[in-house]
Subunit: 351 residues, 2 copies
Amino acid sequence: MKTYTRPLDFKHGRVDMTHGSGGRAMAQLIDELFVKHFVKHCSNDMLAEQGDGACFALPAGAGRMVMATDSHVVSPLFFPGGDIGCLSVHGTINDVAMMGAKPLYLSASFILEEGFPLADLQRIVISMANAAREAGVVIITGDTKVVEEGKGDGVFITTTGIGVMPEGIALRASNIKVGDKILVSGMLGDHGVAIMSQRENLTFETTIQSDTAALHGLVAAILDAVPNLHVLRDPTRGGLATVLNEFAKASGHGMVIQEKSIPVRAEVAAACELLGLDPLYVANEGKLVAFCASDDAEALLAAMQAHPLGRDAAIIGEVIADEHAFVQMNTAFGGRRMVDWLNGEQLPRIC
Amino acid sequence: MKTYTRPLDFKHGRVDMTHGSGGRAMAQLIDELFVKHFVKHCSNDMLAEQGDGACFALPAGAGRMVMATDSHVVSPLFFPGGDIGCLSVHGTINDVAMMGAKPLYLSASFILEEGFPLADLQRIVISMANAAREAGVVIITGDTKVVEEGKGDGVFITTTGIGVMPEGIALRASNIKVGDKILVSGMLGDHGVAIMSQRENLTFETTIQSDTAALHGLVAAILDAVPNLHVLRDPTRGGLATVLNEFAKASGHGMVIQEKSIPVRAEVAAACELLGLDPLYVANEGKLVAFCASDDAEALLAAMQAHPLGRDAAIIGEVIADEHAFVQMNTAFGGRRMVDWLNGEQLPRIC
């Protein structure tokens, strides 16, 4: 039954306060934008039912589940290699995947600013739908709120993901032991530098693209090869340095990494110098850090490198006994320096 | 291990961009605010582990689950009867409960505006912790982002809830049949009028309090009494009129309600007149609308009235055959009028 007098104008229209009112304008936005794209792309009966939530059957034998959530406030909304839409799908899938779980479903909640172009919103929603379909994850429920001009910033998207945990997997910082090897799955710093270049209007010979990607396929592949993997984490805000410091604090051990082993694109290293950034602290959206027993490191590296998203993987360091739980780096010049927590802000609104 | 030089200043401190950076300041905010209150109140091992997400065991025999999400942008943040904190817990619990499910876990994601007082944030977090504990629901994971001053509005909170669906329950609009009775669980309009009075700086002889409350206990009680209940919905944004129109559209049937049967406090009716509002369209945060077969209506009413949150429940109307799926109301003056979809905005940022 059609109840709208004319379709939404996705060419010239803008978000207004009525789109968050609970009334007819909101129902139309949900029908003609969210349901249209999320259902079309996912043959998603659950979202089409439009209750206050969505019901789903548990996979047979599921014993444990994982839940993860992320608000996305990235600025600018569109950047080389992606946009807030696909980022908000990848980011939460990756949080679920880092626990070792298989992501199944997402919710998506939008906080829209009055005046935001419907064309941009449509582009973002299509990007989310495509990212979810490619990842095999279904967006089953959502919410839309609208705030007055000047009380938001275009669009913020909060996604929550749930997934099923395979039997016997327990990835956690307390698994980390002295002697463990530390691996990264590829080149660091691409996402943060792509955003900052866009924000500062910098152009380089080659455009640096965000690495935004869903990592659950890579995680499944490496867990298959090395079921005794100790822990995984995606180095997003705060970058590799933050992940290592969090794990050092949580495990009570120290870490030493080798600067010359850390994969960073030459363009990214050059852009970081220009922007005054340290690639160790720059956000990634399609990379992971893994810890495993020394004996498993070569098998883990091979499994990573065999996957398209882990081609440039490398062993970058190891866990050492250190009661201060410091993270240190042997520099390319032969010295050793501390890799401290990020103090202050480096890159605001990077994700 | 303590890694912070001094504790956060919850008396005079303010949110700054570093609290969203991924670095030390963010870790401190999480430790000293979110983990402290959510863990203390819930003996919550999962959040204390601080991975990218949380893992939980499924209840034995669970076959289906429900997921619901809501972003909360209510303004003002504090209002008579509640605040954005407890509202964000109740709102999502209620969305899960309206499906007939038992809510178990919540995620909570914060978008903070630079400069927001830490004292207010602490008050909100404590309110969330208390609301969750009282409801027997655990906040297991979360996220924090910070946006620049003027790009947000104090704090926005997105919560996502998951719950377990009991065997055999399938509440949905397509269950609605001609002849069904329509019930509401209590007085309508309290929440919206409490917010609007605060916003417009109106005072009445008695302060009108928001009805914000978690309804899953009431839902469990009424499902116990009437397992064949057809459908439930909480009349939040857009109020009772919006719920009835959504259900009319989804079921393809018409509805007639009796104005004189609809419970509205005298103070709320008076405030609505003063503010130019129609109580049928005003948001509630602790009420539900239920549809059941005519034969079950008295048992349902009795079950509602036996519960503290359903004391003022009433049968307000019924479902009729109408190919236009119109919602109509027999007025107190003996006439009949259309109850249309809300056109335009009535109450922006009410939840």
